[in-house]
Symmetry: C3
């Protein structure tokens, strides 16, 4: 069991940041050989997802479609003007969980872990709890 | 490791109920100091999400957008007439997972855990498994 | 703690495969009595969800709505032509987590675990990590 946090600095309103290397470091530091790596986002206008890390066009297309499905302006009642960011955060989710096998993140060949900024630019935190032994 | 369940009574067809206090109680009862709190919904027309608990307009806007994206009436084949509720349940997800740090739920400043009713009113169950030690 | 993998063979472009029985087997083999079963998909054009397993019309309606929200053709930039599959994978998510109680998956009465193929037909892998003791 090992809890850690790291920072992510975003530069755009909507931005997917590949945080796989930082998550791998948390797993290495934890010393856990078998278990699960829980990546948790303690924010309400950002989320996290696992998807393709090879071609940057993939996350560009995910962002484009989320902006199309949930437009920035609409019949929103939340006065801060970032309701779309809250909704996208819930659609992506607040955590992802990758198995740890033989001390390594058991990601698929093309997979990476992406911090999903929906109301940037901001300095954000990511919490990582590695469960196992 | 500690498994518990509690009930949620909903009063509306679509309703987000803040269950953070009940989840905190499950963590306190478990005695777990370091780990993860898994909140699981054993229903197929309800989900769970983490989002802003400060301004109720945020969850109102999430509900509004989900109802817009997935209308109650459409080309559905499921005869019970609640296909939209099943779809929204899968979009929000059946579980959320919040790190437990120093015996406390490590939620972000503005975060709360919301039971998402999509086919109410009903009496629902929420399962909580606190993992760790 | 017990890590295993099994294969799923899909036959259609979009197909939800009920993998509950295979997940139950992983839990039985693990010997874990209290914990959580983590079902993880190591692919970027497939996901996993928990929803109704009784009436097949439910997953048919979920597939139909996902195809409507995220059409196969659109303003996508990813050259492989399967951006919609990547987006649907992130909307459903890469993992589900079901509590294990008294050595059994604590699914609700109507719930099943579905592998969500969005770019089939293919032979796919599912990873299962059972956490607990």
């Amino acid at each position: 069991m090992s809890y850690s946090q790291f920072k992510v600095r975003t530069e755009q309103p909507t931005q997917f940041v590949n945080i796989t290397a930082s998550c791998r470091e948390c797993v290495a530091k934890s010393g856990v050989l078998e278990g699960v790596c829980v990546v948790y986002i303690p924010h309400t206008t950002a989320g996290v997802t696992v998807n393709e890390a090879a071609d940057p066009a993939v996350v560009r297309d995910i962002k484009m479609m989320l902006n199309k499905l949930v437009p920035a302006r609409g019949d929103y009642t939340h006065m801060e003007g970032n309701s779309d960011a809250h909704i996208k955060a819930s659609l992506m989710g607040s955590s992802v969980h990758v198995p740890v096998n033989s001390g390594k993140l058991a990601l698929g060949t093309w997979q990476g872990i992406f911090f999903c900024e929906f109301d940037g630019p901001r300095t954000r935190s990511v919490s990582v709890q590695v469960i196992g032994k």
